[in-house]
Amino acid sequence: MKHKLPTLGMVCPFPLIEAQKAMDELPSGDELVIDFDCTQATESLPRWAAEAGHIVTNYEQLDDASWTITIQKK
């Protein structure tokens, strides 16, 4: 199942903090779609996902300073 987490307008480190919080609530195998516009999160989100062992199923830049990443819970 896919869950949407809008973090537009949030500054570093809140997209990551909110993503971690949301991930805590999800069952294994579910996906979290995070839309974000905080530049620093282009580094912190994929890094956290990789280090926590989750799988990044999609990661792309949508527009100027606008990105989306989909992380599947391990």
Partner: protein, 358 residues
């Protein structure tokens, strides 16, 4: 004057470009030492300090620049750095971080910057000048670490280089996790400059070199100092409201304006510039963060750059003491903003789960 404008803007633009592309966020780095048990950014900072230390003391030895460590007001440095550390977490970035995020189009950072400039000016030449100076006369001693021990400064620099190398090598030897990256859309130089992820240690080397460059450029215009953010940020506002250019216009002013310019160029070319408006909560917290930053940095005599990067490289007590208490400040704020709320949520979840299964 022309020289001051050109070299100041150039040095600032280089710094702004490099920290934007390298995502050189010290606030995030200090915070992650605590909440993610990740010391990478601290080691990156050590690299920048060590490079600058070697370079600047070589310039001092050869007589290119002059430097005197002066005195340190202990109480003001400790309290100021701690308050500054709390402020940068609320503001979502340190002083330099706020300048470069402002260049990325983050309105929240403009708000933080406004609070920061305002409070710095209030502390330096405004209503709170007596508060600022009162603590600065308390517990004042010699600032130079080598002088305190009666040893040569190079001994301390060598020690710093060895410690830095130890942590850097240990970090680089750790087994790597593959970090997913965006699919590349550009090639060659454009890819390297405006797309590729920069390793924090690589960015740190560039920051260290720019910090060295700042010294001779700044001294050539009569400002005997290296990179600095707080006083120049206050100077911008002080000049704007008094019109007194002889007092408030200096190399540092163009340096901070250059950071904004460099980060804007980097962000624009990387498709990372856009005006982004924060929600009310973030806006308020950014403003108060900026106020605390201005208050703290004025007392401590510097920010993450002035104290954390430059004074540390000069081997002063002020630099290292301020760095330690700044980090403690970020940890304190991180506990209340991130650690405690998450622990509470986890507890609540466990309680709900128990209630449904019982």
């Amino acid at each position: 004057m022309t020289q001051m404008i050109l070299t100041g803007l150039l040095c600032g633009a280089l710094l702004g470009f490099v920290i934007q592309r390298g995502r050189f966020c010290l606030t995030g780095g200090f915070r992650d030492m605590y909440i993610a048990k990740d010391n990478r950014m601290l080691y990156a900072l050590l690299i920048a300090i060590a490079i600058q230390s070697v370079g600047v003391y070589a310039l001092i030895e050869t007589g290119v620049i002059e430097y005197s460590a002066g005195q340190i007001p202990w109480v003001a440095t400790i309290i100021g750095a701690y308050v500054f550390g709390i402020g940068i977490v609320l503001a979502g970035g340190c002083a330099t971080g706020t300048w470069y995020r402002a260049g990325e189009g983050l309105i929240g950072s403009w708000i933080a910057l406004a609070g920061y400039m305002l409070m710095s000016a209030v502390m330096k030449t405004g209503a709170l000048k007596p508060v600022n100076s009162s603590l600065k006369d308390t517990a004042v001693t010699n600032n130079s670490i080598p002088d305190t021990f009666g040893l040569n400064v190079w001994l301390f620099i060598a020690l710093l280089v060895v410690i830095t190398l130890f942590f850097v090598i240990r970090t680089l030897r750790k087994p790597k996790v593959k970090i997913p990256s965006l699919p590349p859309k550009r090639q060659g130089l454009a890819h390297l400059l405006f797309e590729k992820r920069w390793h924090p240690f690589f960015t740190a080397i560039l920051v260290g070199l720019i910090a060295i460059l700042a010294w001779p450029l700044s001294e050539a215009t009569g400002r005997n100092s290296g990179l600095g953010i707080t006083t120049p940020s206050a100077n911008v506002l002080q000049y704007l409201v008094t019109g007194d250019d002889s007092k408030y216009i200096n190399w540092g002013v163009f340096l901070v304006l250059g950071i904004l310019l460099g980060s804007f160029i980097a962000a624009k070319a990387s498709r990372e510039f856009r005006f982004r408006v924060p929600d009310a909560k973030t806006a308020v917290s950014s403003f108060f963060g900026g106020i605390l930053m201005g208050f703290g940095a004025s007392w401590a005599g510097g920010c993450t750059i002035g104290n954390g990067l430059v004074q540390t490289a000069m081997m002063t007590w002020q630099g290292w003491i301020a760095l330690a208490f700044m980090i403690l400040g970020t940890w304190t704020a991180s506990y209340f903003m991130f650690v405690r709320p998450r622990a509470r949520a986890a507890k609540q979840r466990a309680a709900t789960l128990q209630a449904t299964t019982a």
